[in-house]
């Protein structure tokens, strides 16, 4: 996983609530067995509309997505995270996220930032007024800054550390292989196996 410390870029406002992962990447795109090429499927149905915000020239190259509440609900498909990253997003800001999407994001180094709904709307309005506005998301300081404004956000220390160091979860867990083996020795004898 790439490490994430701070990122500065332009932002794109997505004024929709309940952006489920079927919208982020429709199921037809999930048939690939590789981890690449998902950017083509990002919001593929919505991008057919020339007025859709990602199609507007002013927002080309933006790397921070600022969405309405309940972003990434529904399906567990991590392909949604891959599609956002491969399209060029490093950060998604919303008032609420689907739990699985948020989890998947932090495994891949896409930063989900939770801000109050009113703050998200203020940021969306600022970016609509000036699409060239630079937005900085500082994970070290847990703060988003734009223009003269700024807002703090919460993220637990452990996830923040892992993101800033770009650490692989599996490697961290394998350091505790002895504890896993010890646990396995005490499992209840009736628990099923698949063999």
């Amino acid at each position: 996983m790439d490490s994430f410390t701070a990122h500065t870029g332009r932002a794109v406002p997505l004024r929709r609530s309940n952006v489920d992962t079927d919208q982020i990447i429709p199921a037809v795109w999930l048939k690939q067995v590789s981890r690449t090429g998902f950017e083509k499927g990002l919001f593929s149905a919505w991008r057919e509309d020339p007025d859709f915000v990602l199609n507007q020239p002013a927002y080309q190259g933006a790397s921070i997505l600022v969405s309405g509440p309940d972003f990434g609900t529904g399906s567990s498909r991590e392909h949604a995270v891959w599609a956002l990253q491969q399209y060029g997003f490093r950060v998604v800001i919303a008032a609420r996220f689907g739990d699985i999407f948020r989890n998947n994001s932090t495994k891949m180094g896409l930063l989900p930032v939770v801000l109050p709904a009113a703050t998200v709307e203020a940021l969306q309005s600022a970016v609509e007024a000036d699409p060239a506005l630079e937005v900085t998301v500082d994970l070290g300081e847990r703060r988003v800054r734009w223009g003269a404004e700024s807002a703090g956000f919460e993220i637990d220390d452990y996830t923040r550390w892992r993101l800033m160091e770009g650490l692989d979860d599996i490697g961290l867990t394998l350091r505790n292989a002895d504890a896993v083996a010890a646990y396995e020795n005490g499992r209840q004898p009736w628990l099923p196996t698949t063999v």
Partner: protein, 459 residues
């Protein structure tokens, strides 16, 4: 202070707990399918890792499979299924491929084999893993990175979610099903209402449900945003499990049941959030919009967006759905009816649909898709397939089918369905398709009239 059911099961599975870190949780059963696993197996290969516990892992083919007999014709789908076969062979994972008697939708086969038991932790790269919580375990969906993590370590690092009680008092009226109840719950608390929580469904109406009904309820926990849904095990649970291929037997059965009986929320336990709902006031429930929280009683009308909690979302949804505010839901005309999926593809669901269709004819395209090959076999032993065929419905092979547009069963742009699946998202059943979520009984009655209909409306 006492503990909730969720806390008891969680604590039983903590491998390691350290200050400032998520718990390391042991996973008792890992279910695999072809869509979310290929990149995880690739990751193992690249790192030179193996599957730690292939004996706690089981795979099936479901999302891509056609439900008409014959091979997969889409080359991309075919590659994905073949990749699963290669991975399972290489890493020693039991697989139920297309055509196998044990094949079926991943969340149907676990319970059917008796692999899903009370008190277990169960994960799968699929959000509807919450289904398995119906047996009193903690079961939740994960992404591909976590699939790889579980394959490599049989554990997951996770913070314990908050706990929510959904107390369902009273008794469901005749003709009102588990599906109607969960749709009503989601409409009440919203698609984000359960975020960060494990929900325990409790109360008289829940206790009266069959295991099939409980699975329907827990299945859709994710549509309310919950991390997992669960129901305390009881005699209904034990009766369902006894004698299944992977259920304990003999002395182990007695020991297991004794333990399972302790898996109840203590009287003095405190939930972080409590929601109450009276089952006796419910009627058949359907969705009108493009998320599962946008639902209403069948007897209601399409809402006026300005009178909803989120007018902008409601306006967008009605535009997509091609519905005018104020239209009675019973007047909404449907092109296709789908009965199946991990939500409603079990034998009880097929029986409910057959009861309505017996001696009647459908006027819509009607797909009846058993959730597994075993469900198909059992339904045919009861003659249900003859009822469906006589009514003019299509009787298919097992698979995810029209729940999601990954296999040949899809809606055309603008086509409208009444579907027993779990998601009415834009394009979920095919690009431009319009989905109304319903119970199997409402689906069948709708197939008879061509409009959203409850069985009680039929003459």
């Amino acid at each position: 202070m006492g503990r909730t059911l969720a806390e008891k099961v969680w604590e039983q599975h903590v491998v390691r707990r350290a200050e400032g870190e998520p718990d390391l949780l042991y996973i008792d059963l890992h279910l695999i399918h072809e869509v979310t696993s290929p990149q995880a197996f690739d990751g193992l290969r690249m790192a030179g890792r193996t599957v730690r516990r292939p004996d706690l892992t089981i795979a099936t083919e479901d999302h891509n499979v056609p439900t008409l007999l014959g091979p997969i014709t889409d080359p991309v789908s075919k590659t994905q299924v073949e990749t699963l076969r290669k991975n399972c062979a290489e890493f020693g994972v039991r697989l139920h491929p297309m055509g196998d008697a044990g094949q079926g939708v991943v969340h149907i086969i676990g319970p059917q084999f008796g692999l899903t038991q009370p008190g277990m932790t169960i994960v799968c790269g699929d959000s509807h893993t919450s289904t398995h919580g119906a047996f009193g375990g903690i079961a939740f969906g994960i992404g591909t990175s976590e699939v790889e993590h579980v394959l490599a370590t049989q554990t997951l690092p996770a913070y314990r979610p908050k706990t929510m009680a959904i107390e369902v008092s009273g008794e469901l009226p005749v003709g009102v099903t588990a599906k109607d109840l969960i749709l009503a719950i989601i409409a009440k608390i919203g698609t984000g209402g359960g975020q960060g929580h494990i929900v325990e469904y409790r109360g008289e109406a829940i206790r009266r449900l069959s295991m099939e009904g409980r699975m329907t309820i827990c299945n859709m926990s994710i549509e309310a945003g919950a991390r997992a849904g669960m129901i305390a095990p009881d005699e209904t649970t034990f009766a369902y499990l006894k004698g299944r291929p992977h259920a304990p037997a003999g002395a182990q059965w007695d020991a297991a049941v004794a333990y399972w009986k302790s898996l109840v929320t203590d009287d003095d336990a405190v939930f972080d959030t409590v929601v109450e709902i009276d089952a006796s006031t419910l009627t058949p429930f359907v969705t009108w919009g493009t998320n599962p929280g946008q639902g209403a009683p069948l007897g209601a009308a399409v809402p006026v967006p300005e009178e909803t909690d989120d007018p902008a979302a409601a306006r967008r949804a009605l535009e997509y759905m091609g519905l005018a505010p104020g239209t009675p839901l019973r007047e909404v005309e449907v092109d296709t009816v789908f009965v199946g999926s991990c939500t409603n593809g079990r034998l009880e669901d097929l029986r409910a649909a057959a009861e309505v269709l017996r001696g009647r004819r459908v006027v819509t395209r009607t797909l009846i898709v058993p959730g597994s090959m075993l469900v198909k076999l059992q339904a045919e032993q009861e003659g249900l397939h003859e009822v469906f065929k006589a009514a003019g419905a299509e009787w298919r092979e097992a698979g995810c089918s029209m729940c999601l547009g990954m296999n040949p069963d899809t809606l055309a742009p603008g086509e409208r369905s009444a579907s027993t699946s779990n998601r009415n998202f834009e394009g979920r059943q095919g690009k431009g398709g319009r989905t109304h979520l319903v119970s199997p009984a409402v689906a069948a009655a709708t197939a008879v009239t061509g409009k959203l209909t409850a069985p009680a409306d039929l003459a």
